[in-house]
């Protein structure tokens, strides 16, 4: 079994078997993270450019660690330090990077479709580390990996609560979890649920109490402060009151339900500190698993590129 693709652009393009392959492969890489010497020679001699055109600490560190544990040579190229400020186009910047013969470009970009654009013009493997409000495939993969360590995904009831409209994490998770047979419900005010989201593979609920009823997985999404100024919400206070994940609401979920958050969290807004730090929270497990999942992605793509 192999990945049928040279790039990881989104979950939308993946078959369920390919998703399972990545998750299975990640299991063996997770073991490396528990060793005294957390390094294997798998990608020795390969070059990875972490091309981050939008600020990110956690995703970039996670990728970088994954690359280093696989013995790849890594270069970080970020927006503030790049020539973007000088008005160079994305394509020209990418061509300059390509001239240095990398095997991978891991790209984070504020515009949806930027990785797809690069994939059309580059012969190296492109890994989407989050593009605008479109997809964040490795986040969804690490979320699925985390869920799978607690219960089988097929038949699991997942409630995703918050700003679905602006969330690439939500899009990738809906696509992935529904492909693997989970029952996904998204929940938020009408102003933050995109038109036609059902066709990605989920149901829509506007009352959090209904969404959480019997859920096995509760995923809270980050609310960004600028949503208030642009009229999507009146206040954080009202949001927390109406959609915040707290202990009382969590009682409606399954007894063994786990609580997830892609980070960074606004404590007391979309999730209370009590829940985030509570026994059901797997938020830090998600971060740990992120490294193993990204190692698996790079390893499988390297095999696909025949490099």
């Amino acid at each position: 079994m192999r990945l049928g693709t040279q790039h990881l652009l989104g979950i939308d393009e993946l078959q369920p078997e390919e998703i399972s392959l990545i998750l299975d492969t990640a299991e063996s890489f997770a073991e490396i993270g528990t060793r005294e010497i957390k390094k294997v020679p798998t990608l020795r001699g390969k070059t990875v450019v972490n091309f981050f055109v939008e600020p990110s600490t956690r995703t970039r560190s996670s990728f970088e660690l994954a690359e280093k544990r696989l013995s790849a040579d890594t270069v970080n190229f970020s927006a503030s330090a790049s020539s973007f400020v000088k008005g160079e186009s994305l394509l020209d910047t990418a061509r300059n990077l390509l001239a240095m013969s990398p095997h991978f470009i891991v790209i984070r970009h504020s515009q949806a479709g930027a990785p797809h654009f690069l994939a059309r013009h580059c012969d190296c493997s492109i890994v989407n580390a989050g593009d605008g409000q479109h997809e964040h495939p490795t986040q969804a993969l690490l979320d699925a990996f985390t869920i799978r360590r607690h219960r089988p995904i097929k038949g699991t009831r997942v409630a995703i609560v918050g700003d679905v409209l602006h969330s690439r994490v939500a899009r990738s998770n809906i696509l992935l979890l529904s492909k693997l047979g989970a029952d996904v419900v998204v929940c938020g005010p009408h102003s933050l649920i995109p038109i036609g989201v059902e066709q990605l593979g989920c149901r829509v609920e506007h009352k959090i109490e209904n969404a959480l009823e019997g859920a096995n997985v509760v995923m809270a999404l980050r609310i960004q402060l600028e949503r208030m100024t642009s009229g999507f919400l009146p206040s954080l206070r009202e949001y927390a009151n109406t959609y915040g994940v707290n202990s009382e609401r969590l009682r409606r979920a399954d007894d063994d339900a786990i609580v997830m958050h892609p980070g960074p969290m606004n404590r007391g807004v979309e999730i209370t500190g009590e829940v985030a730090d509570g026994s059901r929270s797997v938020i830090l497990e998600q971060v740990t698993n992120g490294v193993a999942v990204r190692m698996a992605v790079l390893y499988l793509l390297a095999g696909e590129a025949g490099a």
């Binding site: 939308d12 515009q111 479709g113 593009d131 409000q133 997809e135 995109p194 038109i195």
Partner: protein, 426 residues
């Protein structure tokens, strides 16, 4: 030297003609229009098997000159128009500087006179600098040759300014052409808001943002008695509003583009910037609504909104790409194949949408074949098969969403004032 167009089937919606007729042209005008004019009368052009129509008019193009000559010039844009079967185009004023005064109108006309392959009718700005604050000098521009007024690319944002423009333009008997877009509702959207924008994670431009302005404009036209023309109408609801407005005898007219008639937002596909235009490609229900409006007479004209952009400008992330597609070189073939051959409308109706329709909106004494009329003529070959090849465009730009389309029917001969400006009979 007289020119004799012999053996063609003449379709002239203005007179309701559809039969074999020969056309004799002398000194740029049609002097005889009858069956079987002897070849001895003039230099004969054999048009047997072809369709002879009044010159097609594209009432909505961007020629980009002055100011953005890397995208298009009056010379290249009109050559492209001639190749596409158009004998006249009306050019929008969003040049650099914008056409908001006599000096710019005259410079466009002078350049067209010197280098244009087809007739060019400038459209002036509604407001100074297209800024929406003060009316532009419509009277002065009109007397210099401007045929209509529009802030195209931008809507006339203020309802009060739109009211004033509709009132003021009445004296001149010219239409105010509005690009109907509620800026606040569009809110930076880059494609139609719907299932496809949700899947692609692109910011949506909802159809209702067009509809509210279309209905506002119709109400203001009704109230003031002015003539509002809706540019590049893209939604089924807007078509309903125009249909109702016409039923109430409001002076409202509208145009649709081939791309809104033939494509939906699915064409954005894998972030194809050549499927990015303003207004955006809509849902299938909108497309169907536009086709109905085309067939039932609600639509007055097919116009291309020819909007050339340099390939480098389109070779960027989808959200960063400029809005717009080229159109003059594909419009007629697309309509012949996908509208007429497909049975949506018949050929005389299509010819009307390119001739008498736009001529009436712009009050041009054009779009007809009659003795005494200027010999602006478009000849069609309904049997010719073409594959859209952007590399063969006369336009400076290549941003077409129709590359590779296989079409049946093509404009093969274009005459302006009796002079052949394009001959592709091969």
């Amino acid at each position: 030297m007289k020119l004799l167009l012999k053996g063609g089937r003449v379709i002239d919606p203005a007179s309701g003609t559809d039969r074999p007729l020969d056309v004799l042209i002398d000194e740029g005008k049609i002097v005889r229009l009858e069956p079987k004019i002897p070849e001895s009368e003039g230099q004969t052009v054999d048009l047997s098997g072809l369709i002879v129509c009044p010159g097609f008019i594209d009432m909505h193009v961007h020629l980009r000159q002055p100011g953005q000559e890397w995208k298009e010039t009056i010379a290249t844009g009109t050559q492209a128009s001639a190749q596409g079967g158009f004998t006249a185009v009306a050019c929008m004023p969003n040049t650099l500087p914008v056409n908001d005064c006599r000096a710019v109108t005259e410079s466009i006309l002078m350049e067209s006179e010197a280098k244009g392959a087809v007739r060019v009718y400038p459209i002036g700005c509604v407001t100074k600098g297209q800024a929406g604050d003060q009316l532009a000098e419509m009277e002065d521009m009109s007397s210099a040759g401007a045929v209509a007024f529009s802030d195209d690319g931008m809507p006339v944002r203020s309802s009060l300014m739109m009211r004033r423009a509709l009132e003021y333009s009445r004296t001149l008997d010219v239409p105010v052409i509005d690009h109907c877009e509620d800026h606040e509702l569009v809110d930076g959207g880059v494609m139609n808001e719907g299932e496809v924008s949700t899947r692609l994670g692109l910011k949506g431009w909802p159809s209702v943002a067009e509809d509210v302005i279309v209905q506002r404009d119709i109400l203001l036209a009704e109230y003031t008695g002015g003539h509002v023309h809706i540019a590049h109408m893209s939604t089924a609801r807007s078509a309903e509003f125009v249909r109702e407005g016409k039923r109430r005898n409001v002076h409202v007219s509208c145009e649709v583009t081939p791309h809104h008639l033939l494509l939906t937002d699915l064409a954005v596909g894998d972030y194809d910037t050549n499927a990015k235009m303003n207004p955006p490609l809509r849902a299938e229900t909108d497309r169907v609504g536009l086709l109905e409006a085309l067939a039932d007479g609600t639509v007055d004209a097919i116009a291309t909104d020819h909007a050339p952009h340099h390939p480098d400008e389109k070779l960027v992330e989808f959200s960063c790409a400029p809005f717009g597609v080229v159109g003059v070189e594909t419009a007629v073939s697309l309509c012949l194949d996908r509208l007429v051959l497909a049975g949506v409308i018949d050929l005389p109706r299509m010819v009307e949408l390119f001739t008498t329709g736009p001529a009436k909106v712009l009050r041009l004494d054009k779009g007809k074949l009659a003795v005494g009329a200027v010999a602006d003529i478009t000849v069609l070959d309904l049997e010719r098969r073409v594959v859209v090849d952007c590399e063969k465009f006369a336009s400076r730009s290549r941003n077409s969403p129709f590359a590779g389309w296989e079409l049946k029917g093509q404009p093969v001969l274009t005459l302006v004032g009796g002079r052949i400006v394009h001959d592709g009979r091969g």
